[in-house]
Symmetry: C2
Subunit: 240 residues, 2 copies
Amino acid sequence: MKEARFFYAPNAEDNDRLPPEEAAHALRVLRLKADDEIFLMDGKGRFFRAEVTLTSRQDCCYRITEELPQQKTWNGYIHLAIAPTKHIDRIEWMVEKATEIGFDELTFLQTAFTERKNIRVDRIEKIVVAAAKQSRKAWLPVVNDCMSMTEFLNVPHRGAKFIAHCYDDFEKVDLMAALQRDSNVNEAVVLVGPEGDFSHEEVAQALTKGFQSVSLGNSRLRTETAGLMAVTMAQLTYRR
Amino acid sequence: MKEARFFYAPNAEDNDRLPPEEAAHALRVLRLKADDEIFLMDGKGRFFRAEVTLTSRQDCCYRITEELPQQKTWNGYIHLAIAPTKHIDRIEWMVEKATEIGFDELTFLQTAFTERKNIRVDRIEKIVVAAAKQSRKAWLPVVNDCMSMTEFLNVPHRGAKFIAHCYDDFEKVDLMAALQRDSNVNEAVVLVGPEGDFSHEEVAQALTKGFQSVSLGNSRLRTETAGLMAVTMAQLTYRR
């Protein structure tokens, strides 16, 4: 099976050549030449069939031959806000998998017990682009930088709002059940805490801001697994 | 928060000391001493509270003080049979995550397009044990060695049988919908193919052996993500 060659080209339609990194891959790894067929995704819902017109040492020029209509495979908006894990590779694989499975927005949370204080958003975006290309997603998830928990709670959010945590003294409902109950809303933001969970005060604060207290099931999940489970539950609820 | 110390001790009740590897961790990393409280899981559904009675350079002896009754958090049996990925780290993280989320049995499949010909089962078992301890699972999933696709199809399997693949010319139903429809069965084996999918003949052969042709949704998933999605769908169907 010959793999179709997908490239990420924001504003593909207004350009005639691949962005430098994609061009490097096209020229040096795939060794594309004039007349080769390629596919372009602009990350904003558009896919194009194109052909290579000209290559130089650095440039890979193309001509769009056809727009391929896309439909998002889920009808809704899934926003995950998660505390970054101490070991960055754990959050990185979650980003790859969540992109494959399908979600819309990712925010990194600074919480009371978050051990990691910063995230290289450019690195996360590269993972998102690679996973979106690999899984043929026409829409790229938005990646936001770190935000403090307080700031995040004070920003207005559309749709249903959930906070997943492990405390027993706050009543919890199952996230999947809650999503299905509100499935006419079709927009959700889910908060997932760090290795040491949210602080008790953070959960209480979120509840006063209209977040619903939820559980991700009876298993004790690592932060990154919890994030992926939240995305999967939303995806299984919203998918067409 | 002080972490409870969990140790894997098969036949915990018939012994008075931790297995060598667990003892090394208890003595050299956690520096446990007499009277410290520990928890033991035997991997077959039993959890014990115990106290350290005696330590030497190599031995960590214990006395069981209480059995802690366990209930499996899902009512069913989930068997994943998957082709190992070319890069072993991809299958390894899937094993960790599937153990956290919860499943019962794992078989590695040699298929027409499987690039990796062997798996170190001892290494996979270590990952399973670590993840089961971390997520407090009383039951350890069974890990089977590589088996050829033909051999696997010819062995009798209990419960519902599914093969997930990407061919459009075999009619497919959604795995989650199929599981929920048959949820009185509560036992499922799901086959997931390698990077290049099963061969067309393998799918046809599975169908003649009573496997149902299923899809894991509209997303194009990598092998390891497909495996985790299959486990998650079964877990969400069977959980209590």
